[in-house]
Symmetry: none
Subunit: 133 residues, 2 copies
């Protein structure tokens, strides 16, 4: 099990697609960004580009809002999770860490392709939240 994080963090989706995938309005998505719940990448021309992780988070935001949590609360929840995720579980990081550092765009793309090629039809392990894949 390798760097699925490359895949999940790669900025791929326009806001239009994310709207469809999440059933959120553009206004909502931008508002959530404005309040630090997500930080989508940008194109050179300043268009937002969302990753799978961004979409996951948006779905989580939506869930929590449906359950009556306000944005401040959601922000806290995300912070907690963030801390938990930062605890490195034994050695699962070494390539992942390396990857995160110094890689040209071209290299990254190549890696992504490799990942995608073998990612096949395996569904994600049991993660925390329900996840896109």
């Amino acid at each position: 099990m390798g760097g699925s994080q490359i895949r999940r963090n790669m900025p791929l989706f326009s806001i239009g697609i994310v709207m469809q995938l999440t059933d959120l309005t553009a206004r909502q998505i931008r508002y959530y960004e404005e309040h630090g719940l997500i930080s989508p990448a940008r194109t050179e021309g300043n268009k937002r580009l969302f990753s799978l992780n961004d979409i996951d988070k948006l779905l989580e935001v939506k869930d929590l809002i449906d359950q009556g949590v306000n944005l401040a609360g959601i922000k806290q929840i995300f912070n907690v999770k963030q801390q938990q995720d930062d605890v490195p579980t034994d050695e699962e990081n070494k390539e992942a860490e390396k990857v995160r550092k110094d890689l040209s765009d071209a290299e990254l793309r190549k890696l992504l392709r490799k990942e995608l090629l073998r990612a096949g039809r395996f569904n994600r392990g049991q993660g925390h939240p329900p996840r896109l894949q």
Copy 2:
């Protein structure tokens, strides 16, 4: 659960992203479409939207072109593969095959339930082309 599974033929990616992912120019991608090698979906406003399958195919096109095959040849190759995929490989019951090729959500769920009832595991034979997912 919550909802979105990303299907291989779900239209998700703008041409800009596909350019990055494949290292093809917009001109090339449109030209390949013009010649029937791919058929990306369109938005209401006529913008192309590519699926993972489309990207697969484009990468394959690129590979074959690098190997000196011309578009006519690639088209033939795709036709052959298409036919092969349509042949149920004996053990592979056509329902699993259908799942792999993907259709509506409702249909998929129905098939999965049936599968589970039969305690059948799916393993599609290790097959033809490496696939993105």
